[in-house]
Protein backbone atom coordinates (compact mmCIF):
# COMPACT_ATOMS: atom_id res chain seq x y z
CA UNK A 1 0.00 0.00 0.00
CA UNK A 2 1.15 3.54 -0.75
CA UNK A 3 1.01 6.68 1.36
CA UNK A 4 -1.30 8.32 -1.17
CA UNK A 5 -3.84 5.50 -0.87
CA UNK A 6 -4.61 6.24 2.78
CA UNK A 7 -7.73 8.26 3.52
CA UNK A 8 -7.18 11.46 5.44
CA UNK A 9 -8.77 9.85 8.50
CA UNK A 10 -6.56 6.72 8.29
CA UNK A 11 -3.43 8.81 7.76
CA UNK A 12 -4.12 10.94 10.82
CA UNK A 13 -5.04 7.96 12.97
CA UNK A 14 -1.88 6.07 12.03
CA UNK A 15 0.39 9.07 12.56
CA UNK A 16 -1.19 9.98 15.90
CA UNK A 17 -0.72 6.44 17.16
CA UNK A 18 2.86 6.09 15.97
CA UNK A 19 1.88 3.67 13.27
CA UNK A 20 2.80 5.64 10.14
CA UNK A 21 5.73 3.72 8.76
CA UNK A 22 7.00 4.23 5.26
CA UNK A 23 10.12 3.72 3.24
CA UNK A 24 12.30 6.41 1.69
CA UNK A 25 15.06 4.87 -0.42
CA UNK A 26 17.16 2.59 1.79
CA UNK A 27 15.63 3.96 4.99
CA UNK A 28 12.57 2.80 6.92
CA UNK A 29 10.89 5.64 8.78
CA UNK A 30 8.43 5.71 11.63
CA UNK A 31 6.62 8.99 12.02
CA UNK A 32 4.45 10.09 14.90
CA UNK A 33 2.63 13.42 14.64
CA UNK A 34 -0.72 15.04 15.22
CA UNK A 35 -0.07 17.94 12.85
CA UNK A 36 -2.83 17.60 10.23
CA UNK A 37 -1.61 20.27 7.76
CA UNK A 38 1.87 18.72 7.84
CA UNK A 39 0.42 15.28 7.08
CA UNK A 40 -1.55 16.69 4.16
CA UNK A 41 1.67 18.12 2.71
CA UNK A 42 3.59 14.87 3.34
CA UNK A 43 0.93 12.87 1.51
CA UNK A 44 0.81 15.38 -1.34
CA UNK A 45 4.60 15.25 -1.81
CA UNK A 46 5.04 11.47 -1.44
CA UNK A 47 1.86 9.72 -2.61
CA UNK A 48 3.89 6.82 -4.01
CA UNK A 49 5.91 6.13 -0.85
CA UNK A 50 5.42 2.49 0.17
CA UNK A 51 3.96 1.90 3.62
CA UNK A 52 5.68 -0.67 5.79
CA UNK A 53 4.38 -3.53 7.82
CA UNK A 54 5.39 -3.03 11.43
CA UNK A 55 6.45 -6.59 12.15
CA UNK A 56 8.62 -7.07 9.06
CA UNK A 57 10.46 -3.77 8.81
CA UNK A 58 12.45 -2.37 11.70
CA UNK A 59 12.82 1.38 11.24
CA UNK A 60 16.07 3.30 10.96
CA UNK A 61 14.59 6.46 12.47
CA UNK A 62 11.71 7.01 14.89
CA UNK A 63 10.66 10.60 14.41
CA UNK A 64 8.12 12.63 16.32
CA UNK A 65 6.99 16.01 15.13
CA UNK A 66 4.62 17.92 17.35
CA UNK A 67 3.62 21.36 18.52
CA UNK A 68 5.46 22.82 21.47
CA UNK A 69 3.18 23.07 24.49
CA UNK A 70 2.86 25.76 27.15
CA UNK A 71 2.06 29.44 26.70
CA UNK A 72 3.97 29.58 23.41
CA UNK A 73 1.25 27.71 21.61
CA UNK A 74 -0.98 30.77 21.98
CA UNK A 75 1.54 33.50 21.33
CA UNK A 76 3.99 32.02 18.84
CA UNK A 77 3.15 28.41 17.89
CA UNK A 78 6.19 26.25 17.31
CA UNK A 79 7.02 22.73 16.21
CA UNK A 80 9.65 20.42 17.69
CA UNK A 81 11.50 17.57 15.94
CA UNK A 82 12.37 14.49 17.97
CA UNK A 83 14.37 11.48 16.81
CA UNK A 84 14.65 8.44 19.06
CA UNK A 85 13.57 10.58 21.99
CA UNK A 86 16.23 13.23 21.36
CA UNK A 87 15.64 16.73 20.03
CA UNK A 88 18.64 18.00 18.07
CA UNK A 89 17.24 21.40 17.02
CA UNK A 90 15.57 24.47 18.40
CA UNK A 91 11.86 24.62 17.53
CA UNK A 92 10.65 26.06 14.24
CA UNK A 93 7.51 28.12 13.64
CA UNK A 94 4.60 25.70 13.52
CA UNK A 95 3.75 26.48 9.91
CA UNK A 96 7.26 25.32 8.91
CA UNK A 97 6.74 21.75 10.08
CA UNK A 98 7.32 20.24 6.66
CA UNK A 99 10.70 21.91 5.96
CA UNK A 100 11.73 21.10 9.52
CA UNK A 101 10.86 17.44 8.96
CA UNK A 102 12.80 17.32 5.69
CA UNK A 103 15.88 19.03 7.12
CA UNK A 104 15.64 17.00 10.30
CA UNK A 105 15.54 13.77 8.34
CA UNK A 106 18.58 14.95 6.37
CA UNK A 107 20.36 15.48 9.67
CA UNK A 108 19.44 11.98 10.86
CA UNK A 109 20.76 10.41 7.67
CA UNK A 110 23.87 12.57 7.40
CA UNK A 111 24.98 11.97 10.97
CA UNK A 112 24.20 8.29 11.47
CA UNK A 113 23.82 6.31 8.24
CA UNK A 114 27.47 5.36 7.91
CA UNK A 115 26.87 1.96 6.33
CA UNK A 116 27.36 3.77 3.00
CA UNK A 117 29.61 6.57 1.83
CA UNK A 118 27.50 9.71 1.64
CA UNK A 119 28.30 12.67 -0.56
CA UNK A 120 26.56 16.03 -0.29
CA UNK A 121 25.35 15.79 -3.84
CA UNK A 122 22.38 15.64 -6.09
CA UNK A 123 22.24 12.46 -8.17
CA UNK A 124 20.27 11.81 -11.34
CA UNK A 125 20.30 8.93 -13.80
CA UNK A 126 19.62 8.27 -17.46
CA UNK A 127 19.94 4.92 -19.24
CA UNK A 128 21.31 3.34 -16.08
CA UNK A 129 24.20 5.83 -15.84
CA UNK A 130 24.45 8.02 -12.79
CA UNK A 131 25.43 11.67 -12.73
CA UNK A 132 26.68 13.05 -9.41
CA UNK A 133 26.40 16.80 -8.80
CA UNK A 134 28.43 17.54 -5.66
CA UNK A 135 28.13 21.07 -4.44
CA UNK A 136 27.91 23.55 -1.67
CA UNK A 137 24.76 25.64 -1.14
CA UNK A 138 24.39 28.35 -3.74
CA UNK A 139 26.18 26.44 -6.47
CA UNK A 140 22.95 25.83 -8.35
CA UNK A 141 22.98 22.07 -7.64
CA UNK A 142 19.29 21.80 -6.71
CA UNK A 143 18.13 23.95 -9.60
CA UNK A 144 20.20 22.02 -12.13
CA UNK A 145 19.04 18.73 -10.62
CA UNK A 146 15.39 19.84 -10.81
CA UNK A 147 15.89 21.00 -14.39
CA UNK A 148 17.38 17.67 -15.44
CA UNK A 149 14.60 15.76 -13.71
CA UNK A 150 12.01 17.85 -15.51
CA UNK A 151 13.70 16.78 -18.77
CA UNK A 152 13.35 13.09 -18.06
CA UNK A 153 16.33 12.23 -15.89
CA UNK A 154 15.48 9.98 -12.96
CA UNK A 155 15.88 11.61 -9.56
CA UNK A 156 17.96 9.58 -7.14
CA UNK A 157 18.44 12.40 -4.67
CA UNK A 158 18.63 16.15 -4.42
CA UNK A 159 20.85 16.00 -1.34
CA UNK A 160 22.63 12.66 -0.83
CA UNK A 161 24.94 10.76 -3.12
CA UNK A 162 24.69 7.41 -1.35
CA UNK A 163 27.46 5.10 -2.50
CA UNK A 164 27.14 1.46 -1.47
CA UNK A 165 30.53 0.18 -0.29
CA UNK A 166 30.01 -3.38 -1.48
CA UNK A 167 29.60 -2.65 -5.19
CA UNK A 168 29.96 1.11 -5.69
CA UNK A 169 26.35 1.52 -6.82
CA UNK A 170 24.42 4.72 -6.15
CA UNK A 171 21.33 4.17 -4.00
CA UNK A 172 18.23 6.26 -4.65
CA UNK A 173 16.70 8.43 -1.96
CA UNK A 174 14.06 10.34 -3.95
CA UNK A 175 12.76 13.09 -1.71
CA UNK A 176 11.32 16.55 -2.08
CA UNK A 177 13.87 19.09 -3.30
CA UNK A 178 13.81 22.38 -1.38
CA UNK A 179 13.98 25.11 -4.00
CA UNK A 180 15.03 28.40 -2.52
CA UNK A 181 14.46 32.06 -3.30
CA UNK A 182 15.18 32.93 -6.98
CA UNK A 183 15.20 29.32 -8.13
CA UNK A 184 11.49 28.96 -7.25
CA UNK A 185 9.99 31.20 -9.97
CA UNK A 186 12.70 30.00 -12.35
CA UNK A 187 11.67 26.35 -11.95
CA UNK A 188 7.94 27.07 -11.88
CA UNK A 189 8.27 28.68 -15.30
CA UNK A 190 10.80 26.15 -16.60
CA UNK A 191 8.88 23.09 -15.45
CA UNK A 192 5.25 24.09 -14.73
CA UNK A 193 4.02 20.48 -14.94
CA UNK A 194 6.02 19.30 -11.94
CA UNK A 195 4.38 19.05 -8.52
CA UNK A 196 5.29 21.85 -6.11
CA UNK A 197 4.49 21.99 -2.42
CA UNK A 198 3.31 24.95 -0.36
CA UNK A 199 5.30 28.14 0.00
CA UNK A 200 7.28 28.56 3.22
CA UNK A 201 8.26 32.18 3.83
CA UNK A 202 11.08 33.30 6.09
CA UNK A 203 12.59 29.91 6.87
CA UNK A 204 16.21 29.79 8.05
CA UNK A 205 17.15 29.38 4.40
CA UNK A 206 14.81 32.06 3.09
CA UNK A 207 11.76 31.39 0.95
CA UNK A 208 11.39 27.67 0.25
CA UNK A 209 9.09 25.69 -2.03
CA UNK A 210 9.58 21.94 -2.34
CA UNK A 211 9.56 20.13 -5.65
CA UNK A 212 8.02 16.67 -5.27
CA UNK A 213 9.95 13.66 -6.58
CA UNK A 214 8.39 12.47 -9.85
CA UNK A 215 6.19 9.37 -9.41
CA UNK A 216 8.48 7.32 -11.66
CA UNK A 217 11.52 8.18 -9.53
CA UNK A 218 9.67 7.18 -6.39
CA UNK A 219 8.50 3.95 -8.02
CA UNK A 220 12.11 3.09 -8.95
CA UNK A 221 13.60 3.83 -5.54
CA UNK A 222 14.89 0.25 -5.28
CA UNK A 223 16.83 0.54 -8.52
CA UNK A 224 20.46 1.64 -8.02
CA UNK A 225 22.47 3.44 -10.70
CA UNK A 226 26.04 2.96 -11.87
CA UNK A 227 28.09 6.14 -11.41
CA UNK A 228 29.34 7.49 -14.73
CA UNK A 229 29.95 11.23 -14.38
CA UNK A 230 30.88 13.64 -11.59
CA UNK A 231 30.11 17.25 -12.39
CA UNK A 232 30.85 20.06 -9.94
CA UNK A 233 28.42 22.87 -10.82
CA UNK A 234 29.30 26.51 -10.22
CA UNK A 235 26.60 29.02 -10.94
CA UNK A 236 27.45 32.48 -12.26
CA UNK A 237 24.47 34.47 -13.43
CA UNK A 238 24.72 35.11 -17.15
CA UNK A 239 28.22 33.65 -17.44
CA UNK A 240 29.44 31.36 -20.20
CA UNK A 241 28.26 27.78 -19.71
CA UNK A 242 30.95 25.19 -20.24
CA UNK A 243 32.10 21.83 -19.01
CA UNK A 244 35.77 21.81 -18.03
CA UNK A 245 37.45 18.43 -17.43
CA UNK A 246 38.69 17.97 -13.86
CA UNK A 247 41.78 15.91 -13.00
CA UNK A 248 40.71 12.84 -11.04
CA UNK A 249 43.04 13.63 -8.14
CA UNK A 250 41.43 17.07 -7.76
CA UNK A 251 37.93 15.57 -7.96
CA UNK A 252 38.95 13.02 -5.33
CA UNK A 253 40.07 15.66 -2.84
CA UNK A 254 36.99 17.80 -3.51
CA UNK A 255 34.78 14.79 -2.82
CA UNK A 256 36.53 14.10 0.49
CA UNK A 257 35.58 17.60 1.61
CA UNK A 258 32.11 17.18 0.15
CA UNK A 259 31.37 13.90 1.93
CA UNK A 260 29.25 13.74 5.08
CA UNK A 261 31.12 10.76 6.46
CA UNK A 262 34.36 10.04 4.60
CA UNK A 263 36.39 10.55 7.77
CA UNK A 264 34.43 7.98 9.75
CA UNK A 265 34.30 5.33 7.05
CA UNK A 266 38.13 4.94 7.00
CA UNK A 267 39.42 2.22 4.61
CA UNK A 268 35.97 1.54 3.18
CA UNK A 269 35.49 5.20 2.41
CA UNK A 270 38.89 5.43 0.72
CA UNK A 271 38.23 2.36 -1.38
CA UNK A 272 34.72 3.47 -2.34
CA UNK A 273 35.85 6.96 -3.25
CA UNK A 274 38.87 5.87 -5.31
CA UNK A 275 36.70 3.35 -7.17
CA UNK A 276 34.10 6.04 -7.84
CA UNK A 277 36.62 8.49 -9.22
CA UNK A 278 38.28 5.83 -11.40
CA UNK A 279 34.92 4.89 -12.93
CA UNK A 280 33.70 8.41 -13.63
CA UNK A 281 34.56 11.23 -15.98
CA UNK A 282 34.96 14.37 -13.89
CA UNK A 283 34.09 17.94 -14.86
CA UNK A 284 33.55 21.41 -13.51
CA UNK A 285 30.40 22.97 -14.94
CA UNK A 286 30.51 26.73 -15.30
CA UNK A 287 26.78 27.30 -15.23
CA UNK A 288 25.54 30.55 -16.75
CA UNK A 289 21.94 29.54 -17.38
CA UNK A 290 19.75 26.56 -16.63
CA UNK A 291 18.86 25.88 -20.25
CA UNK A 292 22.49 25.96 -21.39
CA UNK A 293 23.65 23.84 -18.45
CA UNK A 294 21.07 21.15 -19.20
CA UNK A 295 22.07 21.17 -22.86
CA UNK A 296 25.75 20.75 -21.94
CA UNK A 297 24.97 17.82 -19.63
CA UNK A 298 22.69 16.13 -22.17
CA UNK A 299 25.29 16.49 -24.91
CA UNK A 300 27.84 14.88 -22.61
CA UNK A 301 25.45 12.05 -21.74
CA UNK A 302 24.76 11.39 -25.40
CA UNK A 303 28.47 11.05 -26.01
CA UNK A 304 28.87 14.33 -27.87
CA UNK A 305 31.77 16.74 -27.65
CA UNK A 306 31.72 19.79 -25.40
Amino acid sequence: MKLGELSQVELRRLAANGGLRYRSGPFNLQLRTELAPFLDTLQYMYPGAPLLDEAQHPCHFHITLNAVGGWRRWLRPQVQFWVDGFTPFDPYPLDQAFPMYEWGLNWCIGTTAHQNLMLHSAVVEKNGQGLILPAMPGSGKSTLCAGLVSRGWRLLSDEFGILRHSDGQLLPLPRAAPLKNASIPLMQVFAPDQRYGPRFDKTRKGLVVHLAPPPASLADQDLPATPRWIIFPRYSDGGVTQLVPQPRALAFTRLINNSFNYLVTLEQGFQSLTRLVHHCDCYQLENGSLEAAIEAVETLAEGGSQ
Binding site: P247, L266, E267
Partner: protein
Protein backbone atom coordinates in the same frame (compact mmCIF):
# COMPACT_ATOMS: atom_id res chain seq x y z
CA UNK B 1 80.26 -4.27 6.19
CA UNK B 2 78.15 -1.08 6.59
CA UNK B 3 74.47 -1.40 7.38
CA UNK B 4 72.19 -0.89 4.40
CA UNK B 5 69.12 1.34 4.82
CA UNK B 6 66.14 0.48 2.68
CA UNK B 7 62.62 1.83 2.40
CA UNK B 8 59.42 -0.11 1.99
CA UNK B 9 55.66 0.47 2.00
CA UNK B 10 53.62 -0.91 4.90
CA UNK B 11 51.46 -3.84 3.77
CA UNK B 12 47.73 -3.36 3.12
CA UNK B 13 45.54 -2.60 4.98
CA UNK B 14 48.09 -0.56 6.94
CA UNK B 15 48.66 1.49 3.81
CA UNK B 16 46.37 1.71 0.78
CA UNK B 17 47.86 3.26 -2.36
CA UNK B 18 45.92 4.30 -5.47
CA UNK B 19 47.60 5.92 -8.48
CA UNK B 20 45.37 8.63 -9.94
CA UNK B 21 46.55 10.06 -13.25
CA UNK B 22 50.04 11.40 -12.46
CA UNK B 23 49.24 11.69 -8.75
CA UNK B 24 48.82 9.10 -6.04
CA UNK B 25 46.45 8.96 -3.08
CA UNK B 26 47.22 7.02 0.09
CA UNK B 27 45.25 5.99 3.13
CA UNK B 28 47.26 5.41 6.32
CA UNK B 29 45.42 3.13 8.71
CA UNK B 30 47.38 4.19 11.78
CA UNK B 31 46.29 7.82 11.48
CA UNK B 32 43.10 7.49 9.44
CA UNK B 33 44.54 10.18 7.18
CA UNK B 34 44.31 10.40 3.40
CA UNK B 35 47.21 11.99 1.53
CA UNK B 36 47.47 13.23 -2.03
CA UNK B 37 50.93 13.35 -3.61
CA UNK B 38 52.03 14.81 -6.89
CA UNK B 39 54.27 13.32 -9.54
CA UNK B 40 57.61 13.21 -7.69
CA UNK B 41 56.44 11.31 -4.60
CA UNK B 42 54.10 9.29 -6.84
CA UNK B 43 57.16 8.05 -8.72
CA UNK B 44 58.86 7.08 -5.46
CA UNK B 45 55.79 5.22 -4.23
CA UNK B 46 55.35 3.45 -7.57
CA UNK B 47 58.94 2.24 -7.37
CA UNK B 48 58.48 1.04 -3.80
CA UNK B 49 55.29 -0.79 -4.73
CA UNK B 50 57.55 -3.04 -6.80
CA UNK B 51 59.63 -3.80 -3.70
CA UNK B 52 61.88 -2.28 -1.01
CA UNK B 53 64.66 -0.01 -2.22
CA UNK B 54 67.55 2.02 -0.85
CA UNK B 55 67.87 5.80 -1.03
CA UNK B 56 70.70 5.40 -3.53
CA UNK B 57 68.71 3.07 -5.80
CA UNK B 58 65.69 5.34 -5.65
CA UNK B 59 67.84 8.34 -6.55
CA UNK B 60 69.31 6.50 -9.51
CA UNK B 61 65.85 5.46 -10.68
CA UNK B 62 64.45 8.97 -10.40
CA UNK B 63 67.49 10.52 -12.08
CA UNK B 64 66.90 8.20 -14.99
CA UNK B 65 63.14 8.87 -15.13
CA UNK B 66 63.43 12.65 -14.76
CA UNK B 67 66.70 13.09 -16.70
CA UNK B 68 68.33 14.92 -13.80
CA UNK B 69 71.75 14.48 -12.16
CA UNK B 70 71.60 12.12 -9.18
CA UNK B 71 73.49 14.59 -7.01
CA UNK B 72 70.84 17.22 -7.60
CA UNK B 73 68.04 14.84 -6.68
CA UNK B 74 69.47 13.25 -3.59
CA UNK B 75 68.84 16.08 -1.03
CA UNK B 76 65.24 16.48 -2.25
CA UNK B 77 64.71 12.75 -2.14
CA UNK B 78 66.11 12.44 1.37
CA UNK B 79 63.75 15.16 2.61
CA UNK B 80 60.82 13.52 0.84
CA UNK B 81 61.57 10.08 2.29
CA UNK B 82 61.81 11.53 5.77
CA UNK B 83 58.50 13.35 5.27
CA UNK B 84 56.75 10.24 3.96
CA UNK B 85 58.11 8.22 6.86
CA UNK B 86 56.71 10.80 9.28
CA UNK B 87 53.28 10.42 7.69
CA UNK B 88 53.37 6.64 8.05
CA UNK B 89 53.56 6.12 4.30
CA UNK B 90 57.04 4.56 4.40
CA UNK B 91 58.96 2.33 6.74
CA UNK B 92 62.73 2.32 7.09
CA UNK B 93 64.52 -0.97 7.50
CA UNK B 94 68.19 -1.52 8.25
CA UNK B 95 69.73 -4.71 6.97
Amino acid sequence: MAAMTTWRLPNPPQLLVEPMDDHVVCFVQATGATHLFDAFPAEVLAELQAGPSSTEALAAHLADRLSLPTAELTPQLAALLSNLQGLGVLEETVA
